[in-house]
């Protein structure tokens, strides 16, 4: 080894006081911004010292343990100094008021595709089962169908126990929001999973509606479904659209690597999935408490109309103010990760 550089032990002896200082500062304080101002400044200074020492240790060929020690210390300081923007409740409001509807409009092609993938099988199944109710047994066990038909035939004139409302709301949260997350997540398989779930949901819902209608309870089931459907059916389509968008990013990469293309769409599809989850939460509450209540059918229909119009107006109009020069993709702070 040449003699121009300090020996490893001399290097360590001379520099370790700085390393120890930085180590202590990082260990003591969980939040750097709560330190006194002069100490915050010294963290940055010590970090740069450690960076320089790391480079020197590497180029001097000092022992791997020393290099690894500086590596870990430097990386710890780095992760403290370069933080992601903090989580703020305000961001959730911004997501719902602005970013979600904007991203939705920007993804209108995927929305159109997802809607078609849901509605076409839905109507085919609906008309097929209206014409021949036995077909419904192909997608759902006969016993379950009859139970449904019977419960809707009774109507909701009596309302039902509050405890049952809570129970069903819980079920809708667990089942429906979970389904929509799966509709979204399986889009990673080149969109195929989302397509499958959209079509299968369309078929099941269409066949159920058709069968129950054919058994003579069509008005009741529609009265029941229309209210929360404004949130639930649209949210499942949105989750599917997010999955399709994710899958399509793998197919059409615009000259990026497949992963890079996927990564670029990440924040947008996450916003869609989150928005859909919130909508499904609302849907579960309506479905659990309002839809089965004993309120007159006319009121339910009026409410359902208002909900549908409200949801559509939200999709079309929300977050339009101040759009100039700002795109949903460029919204600062909320999850714009560098990649």
């Amino acid at each position: 080894m040449n003699q121009s550089k300090p020996s490893q032990d001399a290097f360590v002896a001379r520099r370790r006081v700085h390393w120890q200082q930085l180590d202590d500062l990082l260990t003591q304080s969980k939040h750097l911004h709560r330190l006194p101002p002069d100490l915050i400044g010294s963290v940055g200074r010590l970090y740069r010292i450690v960076c320089a020492d790391l480079m020197r240790a590497r180029s001097a060929g000092y022992g791997q343990e020393l290099v690894a020690y500086l590596d870990v210390l430097g990386a710890r300081a780095h992760n403290r100094l370069y933080r992601a923007s903090p989580y703020q409740l305000r961001k959730v409001g911004e997501l719902l008021a602005r970013d979600f509807p904007r991203t939705l409009r920007e993804s209108w092609r995927y929305m159109a595709a997802a809607t078609a993938l849901f509605l076409v099988p839905f109507f085919i199944a609906l008309f097929a089962t209206l014409a021949n109710p036995d077909l419904a047994a192909e997608v759902m066990p006969r016993g379950q169908l009859d139970m449904l038909a019977q419960s809707y035939a009774e109507g909701f004139g009596q309302g039902r126990a509050e405890s049952q409302d809570v129970s069903m709301t819980g079920f809708y949260v667990y089942n429906n929001v979970g389904i929509s997350f799966r509709v979204f997540a399986t889009g990673i398989f080149f969109g195929l999973g989302s397509m499958f779930y959209l079509v299968s949901n369309g078929v099941t819902i269409g066949a159920t509606l058709g069968y129950v209608s054919a058994m003579g309870a069509g008005r009741n089931i529609l009265t029941f479904v229309m209210g929360h459907g404004a949130f639930e059916l649209t949210a499942i389509v949105i989750a599917g659209a997010a999955g399709l968008r994710m899958g399509y990013a793998l197919v059409r990469t615009h000259g990026r690597t497949r992963l890079g293309s996927l990564r670029r769409e990440g924040p947008a599809v996450a916003r869609l999935a989150l928005g859909a989850a919130v909508m499904l939460g609302i849907a579960a509450l309506i479905e659990g408490f309002w839809s089965p209540s004993s309120v007159a059918d006319e009121v339910k229909w009026a409410t359902a109309t208002a909900l549908w119009l409200g949801v559509i107006a939200y999709f079309v109009l929300a977050g339009r103010a101040g759009t100039t020069g700002e795109t949903p993709g460029g919204t600062p702070g909320f999850g714009e990760g560098s990649s």
Binding site: G170, F181, A185
Partner: protein
Amino acid sequence: MSKPAGQDGLENALDTTVDVETPEHVTFRVHVAGPSRRAVAYGVDLLIRGVVLVVLAVVVEMAGVTVDFEGASQGVLLVVMFSLEWGYYILFESLWSGQTPGKRMLSLRTVKESGVPLTFLDVVLRNLLRGADWLPAFNVVGLVVMAVDGRFRRLGDMVAGTMVVQEAKGRLGSALVISPAPTPAELEAIPASVSLSGAEMDVLESFLRRVGTLSPARELELAQMVAPMFAQRCGARYEHAVRFLGALFVRAGGHVLAAPSHRKTFFGRTRGGA
């Protein structure tokens, strides 16, 4: 952007390390966590979620029985189940900056591929994608994808641009000790002009640091793999390969502490999993 280390040289070709470059153009080397460690963390989290669910189920059932509200308690439990299934990871990874109780226990942390902490949307993405990684059952897709990827990322990590790293809390190792110190005779046997490359010195140093932690027979066996090569190169003879390597290290300019002292394992427990 990070890349698997070792593409630029052989030294880390088999290592599970990743180079992360900072804005200061300094690269840090981090250890990505493999499937086994992550599986254990997953198991711990699963256990915690299971216990929470059972405890809450008992509490809710008891409350339900006392006010005769059985349907309601069922609904509450389903919401709890939903929150544990989807909310648990999102909550902890956003509050604890990429850690869950299980990850914390195994000193794992989820970070961006650039080494910086996660944003909320990253956390949401990587955890919603569990729905795909789980398929067809028991995380099979996730495991296969991890096995193929150089950074052990599952699908959720790939979409969110994240990876799971092992957090090593490095300690400055004590200086190297050769005990007993090489005798003048041992040193004299090696020419003073001997010169070793940095990589060779590293190999010798890491071997000498392990002396004493291995059985004497194993030490000798390892030393004999390289000792003849060095001996031939500098034209020296040796009696005991381990002693020879120690003397060679000193002669070539390696630094050792004169007096024996307490030795610590530098990486502590994290080394075994690396």
